[in-house]
Amino acid sequence: MTVPISWYLILAAVLFAIGTVGALTRRNGISIFLSIEVMLNAANLTLIAYARQFESHAGQVVVFFVMAVAAAEAAVGLALFIAVFRQRHTIDLNRINLLRW
């Protein structure tokens, strides 16, 4: 029996939800990034599933781009963390809140 597409989509939804909870809950900057990566993967899974469904390559191409963007984002984000860490010697996000009211 082949797997219906809705299962893939549900799986992607689950992964996305897990990633979201992680991104919103963690205090550690790195952990937040990891959760974001999970979310991105969930999105990629959805795109590939639909690409298969509609027999189009466009989905795969977009996934290609998403990966590139994720890479760029990870690089820049981690560079930012490094810079912040130099100043504050912490990446606990609760402690980095100078822009408070």
């Binding site: 979201t20 919103l24 205090r27 937040i32 996000l93 980095i96 408070r100 009211w101």
Partner: protein, 639 residues
């Protein structure tokens, strides 16, 4: 020369502008040169135009300078020189010029000298616009302009308490009339699509049914417009019930009273009615109303004049009364008589006012006749010219007032309006009486003032007395323009202008002997003067007034306090309006409108103060908001 017609108001306007903008920095002779030179220039150009006009047979000349069109309404900036505006032009420029000359002497010690001449020239400009325009819009511009200048000049002594108040009163009361005038103009636009005299009157004269069908409030169109315009005239020309501003306007400098509140501005209402005669002839009810109001005002004001102590107030009420005569004539359809009286009145009233100015000047500013007396010796020229003016206004042959007043009384009798005739005759008697009361109290008997005043007494300089003499000549001989019978030049002149619209019933004509009426009027006037002599003359001084007050105290008090009209208006109209205004101010403007705006501002402020707590600086919170937005987007996409 006629092509320079436009130059007349432009010259006076330039005079006003130059003095207004630079006058405070110019030396006094220069201010005088501009301030008197401008009306002189206007007078010369006017005389030139008039010469050519009469040479050309008195055919109406129209000149268009600019055509304004807004949508379907087309109004031109154009002048019309026809016989009516020619006569007015002469009166205004000539008397106006003389008064400007007089002012150079009278106002020479004032610090606001330049301001005075600027305003006075501006007034001339507006008045000239009023009479030269060829449509109601230009007339209205001039109408408003003279109202403005009246306000400015009445309140000339702005550092005192009363003059600004008097100026405000004049302007506000005038405004009521102006509103009615505007409504009349709107009606004309609605019906004829234009405000041009010639277009409107041509149509009315050709076919009076245009204006005699029912229109609004049970009135015909002609009646409605005529009534609206007349209410405007009530304000501008000080008829009952809107006359209350004129006596208070005496707070302005005396030459102003002479020019504006005697000779020219207040006559604008009469001019307007004569100009609009086609419509008034088609509205007999309103015309009769005009005549009745005129007669009532005439006698009402004359009675008040009997008990006034301020020399200028006597003349002010006299002006109101004489204006009543003019409206009486206009209401009866005797348009040439109205203009005749307008012209003669301009001369003798200006003369009387300037003469009183001479007296006030000699008395060092005192205006109360009770302080005067015996000034004949110190001010001979003033005395004789004043007497000439008094004789003219009293209607004594052969002075001008005799002829013009007679025309009016003849019109009343000739139309069978005997009540109006009696009222007019009685007013003539009263006029003679109170004028000569003022003559005797001021110039005869013993001096009643203080020692300093007595030492200060001196005849006025020539710059003031020469205009007096010129005006005296005019007051004496202007009657020639309207000799009764075939020689009535004015009557013939205005014949075409006052053509009766077709389709209206013929006016009633009674044949009354002119001679009989003249003799009756002369007798009445003569008797009044004799009475005045008995009561006030020959050094009797104030005894006459005291006897009056003693015999009939209530009447005297009533007259002296001008029937308490101002007080009545204050209670009935001014206070309720003031209360209403206060309510609108405090209750609505301050609370509602300001409150709304302030609340809006306060809301923004509070929103900001509450909203700032969302910027926690904590990135995770921001991520949360981000996420919430995404959820909202999802929901929206699903639904």
């Amino acid at each position: 020369m006629l092509e320079y017609l436009w130059l007349i108001p432009v010259l006076t306007f330039l005079g006003a502008a130059l003095n207004g903008l630079f006058g405070s920095r110019l030396p006094k002779p220069v201010v005088t040169a501009i301030g008197v030179g401008a009306p002189l220039g206007a007078l010369l150009v006017a005389l030139g135009c008039l010469w050519h006009f009469w040479q050309g047979g008195g055919e109406a000349v129209g000149q268009t300078y600019w055509a304004w069109t807004a949508g379907s309404l087309s109004i031109d900036a154009a002048f019309l020189l026809d016989r009516l505006s020619a006569v007015m032009l002469f009166v205004v420029t000539f008397v106006g010029f003389l008064i400007h000359v007089y002012s150079a002497g009278y106002m020479s010690h004032e610090s606001g000298y330049w301001r005075y001449f600027s305003y006075l020239n501006l007034f001339m400009t507006a008045m000239l616009l009023l009479i030269l325009g060829d449509n109601y819009l230009i007339m209205f511009v001039g109408w408003e302009g003279v109202g403005l200048c009246s306000y400015l000049l009445i309140g000339f002594y702005y550092d005192q308490v009363f003059p600004p108040y008097a100026g405000k009163k004049a302007f506000i009361v005038n405004r009521i009339g102006d509103f009615a005038f505007l409504v009349g103009m709107f009606a004309l636009i609605a019906k004829f699509g234009t405000l041009k005299y010639s277009t409107i009157f041509e149509q009315v004269v050709k076919d009076s049914s245009l204006v005699t069908g029912p229109y609004v409030l049970g009135l015909t169109f002609a009646s409605f417009v005529a009534l609206c315009f007349f209410v405007g005239a009530m304000g501008k020309s000080a008829q009952i019930p809107l006359f209350v501003w004129l006596p208070d306007a005496m707070a302005g400098p005396t030459p102003v009273s002479a020019l504006i509140h005697a000779a020219t501005m207040v006559t604008a209402g009469v001019y307007m009615i004569v100009r609009t005669n086609a419509i008034y002839q088609a509205a007999p009810g309103v015309s009769m109303f005009v005549a009745v109001i005129g007669a009532a005002t005439a006698i009402f004001a004359a009675t008040i004049g009997l008990a006034q102590n301020d020399i200028k107030k006597v003349l002010a009420y006299s002006t109101v009364s004489q204006l009543g005569y003019m409206f009486l004539a206009a209401g009866l359809g005797a348009y040439s008589a109205a203009i005749f009286h307008l012209g003669t009145h301009a001369f003798f009233k200006a003369l009387l006012f300037l003469g009183s100015g001479s007296v006030i000047h000699a008395m060092g500013g005192e205006q109360d006749m009770r302080q005067m007396g015996g000034l004949k010796k110190a001010l001979p020229q003033t005395y004789w010219t004043y007497v000439i003016g008094a004789l003219a206004i009293a209607g004594i042959f052969p002075f001008s007032g005799f002829f013009s007043k007679d025309e009016i009384l003849h019109a009343a009798a000739g139309n069978g309006q005997w009540i109006l005739y009696i009222v007019g005759l009685a007013t003539a008697g009263l006029t003679a009486f109170y004028m000569f009361r003022s003559v005797f109290l001021t110039f005869h008997g013993k001096f009643r003032g203080t020692h300093e005043q007595e030492h200060h007494l001196h005849e006025s300089p020539p710059v003031m007395t020469i205009p007096l003499w010129i005006l005296a000549v005019g007051a004496a001989v202007a009657g020639l323009a309207g000799l009764p019978g075939e020689g009535n030049w004015l009557h013939h002149t205005f014949e075409k202008l006052t053509e009766r619209p077709a389709g209206l019933p013929e006016a009633a004509e009674h044949h009354v002997s002119v001679l009989v009426l003249a003799l009756v009027a002369l007798a009445v006037a003569g008797t009044s003067i004799w009475l005045a002599l008995r009561v006030y003359g020959r050094d009797r001084g104030l005894a006459g007034d005291q006897a009056f007050a003693g015999r009939w105290p209530t009447v005297h008090r009533l007259l002296e306090n001008k029937y308490y009209v101002d007080e009545i208006y204050d209670r009935l109209i001014v206070r309720p309006l003031a209360a209403l205004s206060t309510f609108f101010w405090k209750g609505i403007d301050a609370t509602l409108i300001d409150g709304t705006v302030n609340t809006a501002g306060a809301t923004a402020k509070v929103a900001g103060e509450v909203g700032r707590f969302s910027t926690t600086g904590n990135v995770r919170n921001y991520a949360l908001y981000f996420f919430l937005g995404v959820i909202a987007l999802f929901v929206w996409l699903i639904l």
